[in-house]
Symmetry: C2
Subunit: 304 residues, 2 copies
């Protein structure tokens, strides 16, 4: 069998992004951890870690960590039957989009966490990167907009997140008094999450504008919302996040053809053990409370 | 003089993380942009872009982009005097910590944005990486916890963010009924932002615990707060973010030696032009509304 002490050292250094902190997490000295990783590399005849500019696993290292995570999930199932074997601490690493994390995710998983002793390692990623992390074995599950599952995994639709084009009443009066059109959209600053966020582009495209438009960049869901709330720009905000401000009148909805809906699919390893299966069942049962039914959804326009 | 058409192409491809989108942003064809970058590399005799796994500037490319950003800031000053020269669109790229962005930042810069036609490119970074980005010229300013400025830049103290150890009343009753001590802290899951977030470590260390403790990882300010709010763990939350929940009783403060305060310093390029100077003045004038005075602050314990 593999020497899991060595693999555990690798996992700790990668998780903590450093030898010193990795050693601390394991309760070992830094030199002990360093020796374990050297021994692992000597046995394999290949490096498992890139040291600079930032500590990261090599493709081989990643494959090993993937394996360790799977073994841990299986161990957890075993502990259900033989509790005396060890401690029950169990980590599930999951990639998800920032807006889910900033809105419904915690409330949805809280009841599951009450029953199951599980710790979440959450990673924020856009859809393409999430699936790559699944393939590399860095995460056991992910939430993304692609329905097609990757090899070794399954995908289940959870529902759609509804987005509304919003701004403060003052911002709307200043820029959109004559309507939302080519001219006003070329003047009014939008807020865009990052280069991978195409929601604002899709919104202006649905209104017939394909040229570049002025925009701030703000890669934080809460920051994005607060920029709009402070009148720095307009943008597409998840309905779940915007409701109180819409009700109080602090934000108003801009003209639009229709709301934009982003579909969310839950991807998870087939061999991920009982706890991942249980979380999958839990999510598919409870998310309709926050997410919209995807019947009739048009993937090209994002319009439901 | 340098051929700024070529440098602009480089900037667009890097900003948009792709040739196709970079071309779109400039209103050019993809092949035109590609040719400009090839020409730039041929003239320099060195690559300016890394193509895989993700498009990124080489160190030389970064130096060029740094220069372009500085030229743009200077151009903006010129346009104050000769408005007919061109359009006034001006971008300021700034790195800041996630918690500032999730709390006071937008409200603080909103009045500045009303007066100055500026678009913000915000980047979320912990302190070490922010200063590295300043040095590499990727950002014109940053907000971080280090008082020492880097070469070519100045640093000004803005104030401290106060953090409180919080949990739901149910969570506190379940785990901390007998007090916050070594035993309860080894059982109760904390929420930690990421490997670089040492706030929770500092909190338990101030209570005499130096061994590892169970924790979730959640690299999003709002997600972090919502995990605590949903009862998944305890953690240190910015006072600004927690106040409503503390007042309503949805969250309670755990025992602690004292609140933890994180000092924030504004670092900015000396040659960053008038608009960066004006933003600096604005921030140093207005942030006392949200941030705590740093007199008497102890950098080792984080206690004020």
């Amino acid at each position: 069998m593999l020497d899991y002490k060595l693999l555990e050292a690798l996992g700790a250094v990668v998780d903590q992004v450093g030898f010193e902190r990795g050693a601390q997490a394991l309760g070992l000295t830094q030199s002990a951890v360093s020796q374990r990783i050297k021994l692992l590399e000597a046995r394999l005849g290949q490096p498992v870690l890139v040291r600079a500019p930032r500590i990261a696993p090599t493709p081989l290292g990643r494959r090993l960590l993937n394996h360790v995570q799977q073994v841990r999930l299986l161990e957890h199932d075993l502990l259900d039957h033989v509790p005396s074997l060890g401690d029950r601490e169990q980590r599930l690493r999951i990639a998800l989009n920032a807006d889910s994390l900033a809105t419904w995710w915690s409330e949805a998983v809280a009841p599951f966490h009450q029953q199951q002793s599980v710790l979440f390692d959450l990673v924020i990623e856009d859809q393409e990167s999430s699936l790559k992390r699944m393939r590399d074995g860095e995460v056991a599950a992910c939430l993304c907009t692609t329905p097609r599952s990757i090899q070794g995994a399954r995908a289940r639709p959870l529902g759609g997140m509804r987005y509304r084009p919003l701004a403060t009443p003052e911002f709307a009066a200043r820029y959109f008094a004559n309507g939302v059109d080519r001219i006003s959209l070329s003047e009014a600053p939008a807020v865009v999450f990052g280069p991978d966020d195409r929601l604002q582009h899709r919104y202006v495209a649905n209104l017939g504008v394909t040229s570049p438009f002025p925009h701030h960049l703000c890669p934080s869901s809460e920051g994005f919302y607060l920029m709009i709330h402070a009148g720095l720009g307009y943008g597409l905000v998840p309905d779940l996040q915007a409701r109180p401000a819409l009700e109080s009148g602090a934000l108003v909805e801009l003209e639009s053809e229709s709301d934009i809906v982003v579909p969310l699919y839950w991807h998870y390893w087939r061999q991920g053990g009982n706890i991942l299966e249980a979380l999958t069942d839990h999510l598919t049962r409870c998310t309709e409370k926050w997410l919209t039914d995807l019947k009739g959804f048009d993937n090209t326009t994002g319009i439901l």
